[in-house]
Amino acid sequence: MELVLATAIGVMTGCGVWLILRPRTYQVIVGLSLLSYAVNLFIFGVGGVKTNVPPILVDGVPNSTLADPVPQALVLTAIVIGFATTALFLVVLLASRGLTGTDHVDGRNEPK
């Protein structure tokens, strides 16, 4: 379980970093999305990886079998904020495409 999660985070981060270094705006936004998924999983992971345990205190259940609720709350906030800012970036990307006629991040194609 830990290995799968770690590999997934690693692969997504790697792809994301490579993509945001690309010159096309579409690649950049996909890269940023991948990175934010990776970060969300990462936040989830710092609370400890546990399956099938509730993040709620119940009488008679020892604390060690609880999932940490704080990272779950954090990741929820991070998802919402990340989603909103990505949507905003998408609008700017389209505006840039409309104004410059190219999808290069600098608004012009480099001379070939």
């Binding site: 990462f42 710092v46 800012t85 990505t86 990307l93 840039s96 104004l99 410059t100 600098d106």
Partner: protein, 543 residues
């Protein structure tokens, strides 16, 4: 600490938030109403932050901790008001009044929802200054950034969209780093409350400490991007010079937010104990690199907007460098420098727009070409005998000269006082016995050189703009546009006249920062408010 004055702490967040929501109910055509509401909000913010500053520095036992939701400290989110955050709140409020009044002349009308975004930016800034919780800081940071994306694009145009896109991409990446840092710190220390974190750091075992420090480092990068440390600063001059004038004016405080958080967290978390001085070298050498890059940029910029953008970097570099040394007396000089340079740069950004209004877009390029190829305007016919400099140009010229004096740190304005306070403290460390180290000499040289570079660049720009103006047209400047600029410059003058009390306040601030126990105890001992019927709140119960 009880009663209404205690609830005043949350006002700097609530007032702009409510106003921002309220403004959405008005149609864009009711511009005057919107402007008045927005202006009223910023004026209230000035009054509130003045009151907070007065309460905070008062003699009573005001602890400045506000428990949101009435949960005790490590469990609930807290707002903390101390001398530093009160100072930053006041600075933000003053800048916002100036920038808002400036925008009323024309800028607020060139796009939709200017006032709403402006108020939301203030929510984010004030919240980030007040919060005592790392994740809450992230939320306020994002509120501020989201508003700043909109404001940067305000007015549209290819240049703004291009600069805005770079700005958003950089800041989205920075936000992800912020999250990684926060979650690493949570994973190792088990808390996000800054005071609780500071108390727990000495007890973290060595293997987890390394992870915690890695988290703090990643977190630091996010703030350094905001502060504009080299090599994380290449977006800054372009973004700031592309923004419309009032927006750039308020953006001047945003780079100082990064500095503020770094100052707050290093003093609180890494003041003493096993992790003491963590990251100080990065700040020192990063600051040195930033100030060199900024100085070269100031010398190289032809457009005034870029000159101002690089001045932001010089100011950031100077502050980072001082944070890297982490010496009490130098830091209090640096705080004064922070206030002075923020006011200056904000005024300068707004002034630039007024000065450049008289010139058409090609004039600058033309002037540069003529400068390079000799005095081409030598044989230009004089337009008439004894042409008097009109009032507008005179006032603009005086303001420009004041900005130049402030940026280069010449007497008599506050730029000089601030730099003098820093430099004398740096040299003063040697007077006790040991001679100043090589590092200190480098810092002194860099601060002075950056001042000279600013002087050269401002003189060159001033001569080109005011004395050898090709067009000769006088820009039409409204009173409400020049008054905010003069207001900010007047504040620097007031800072000069009242340098004694101001320095005293900075000293007190730095002293309280260098003793993190005060902050930690205040947050930990903050009592929850009991219910009205006298029964202790359920929140303090067995949970």
């Amino acid at each position: 600490m009880t009663g209404w004055s205690h609830h005043l702490i949350i006002a700097p967040i609530l007032v702009p938030l409510v106003v921002a929501a309220l403004l959405l109910f008005f149609d864009e055509r009711q511009r005057v109403v919107k402007a008045m509401i927005s202006l009223a909000s910023t004026l209230i913010l000035v009054a509130v932050s003045l009151a907070l500053l007065r309460i905070e520095s008062g003699p009573n036992d005001f602890d400045g901790v506000y428990l949101l939701g009435n949960w005790a400290a490590p469990f609930g989110i807290v707002l903390v008001l101390d001398a530093l955050s009160a100072l930053m709140l006041l600075l933000t409020a003053l800048l916002s009044v100036a920038a808002l009044v400036f925008s009323l002349a024309r800028w607020h009308a060139v796009g939709a929802h200017f006032h709403t975004m402006f108020q939301l930016l203030l929510v984010g800034l004030n919240g980030a200054f007040l919060t005592g919780d790392l994740f809450n800081l992230f939320v306020f940071f994002e509120v501020m950034l989201a508003a700043s994306y909109g404001l940067l694009l305000h007015g549209s145009g290819p240049l703004r969209v291009k600069a805005g896109m770079h700005y958003i991409a950089v800041n989205l990446a920075a936000a992800l780093l912020f999250l990684i840092g926060v979650s690493l710190i949570y994973g190792t220390a088990g808390t996000l409350n800054m005071a609780d974190l500071a108390a727990r750091i000495p007890d973290i075992e060595p293997d987890r400490r390394m992870l915690m420090e890695a988290g703090a480092g990643v977190l630091g990068i996010a703030f350094l991007i905001k502060a504009g440390m080299w090599p994380l600063c290449f977006w800054l001059p372009t973004a700031y010079s592309a923004a419309s004038a009032p927006v750039a004016g308020i953006f001047a405080i945003m780079s100082k937010l990064g500095i503020y958080i770094i100052l707050r967290l290093t003093m609180l978390l890494f003041g003493d104990g096993p992790s003491a001085g963590f990251g100080a070298d990065v700040l020192l050498y990063g600051g040195i690199a930033t100030i060199i890059f900024g100085t070269i940029g100031v010398l190289a910029s032809q457009a005034l907007g870029r000159l101002a953008g690089f001045s932001v970097l010089v100011s950031s570099g100077t502050l980072l460098m001082v944070l890297g040394i982490n010496d009490g007396a130098i830091s209090s000089g640096a705080l004064l420098y922070l206030v002075s340079s923020t006011l200056t740069i904000s005024a300068f950004f707004m002034l630039i727009e007024l000065v450049e209004r008289g010139q058409d877009a090609g004039a600058i390029v033309l002037a540069v070409t003529m400068e390079a190829y000799g005095d081409a305007d030598e044989d230009e016919p004089e337009e008439g005998e004894g042409v008097t400099m009109p009032g507008t140009m005179a006032i603009l010229g005086i303001c420009f000269a004041a900005c130049g004096i402030l940026l280069s740190g010449l007497p008599p304005l506050s730029g000089f006082i601030a730099k003098f306070a820093m430099l004398s403290a740096m040299m003063g460390t040697g007077a006790i016995g040991v001679p100043p180290t090589a590092t200190v000499w480098i810092l002194v040289t860099l601060v002075i050189l950056s001042g000279i570079a600013a002087l050269i660049s401002m003189t060159r720009a001033g001569i080109r703009t005011f004395w050898s103006s090709l067009e000769g047209t006088v820009p039409r400047v409204l009173v409400i546009e020049i008054v905010p600029v003069m207001f900010l410059l007047f504040l620097t003058l007031a800072l000069t006249v009242q340098a004694g009390p101001a320095m005293q306040y900075m000293d007190t601030t730095i002293r309280s920062l260098s003793n993190p126990r005060i902050y930690i105890d205040a947050v930990r001992n903050a009592a929850v408010v009991p219910d009205y019927d006298g029964v202790s709140s359920t929140n303090t119960g067995s949970n």
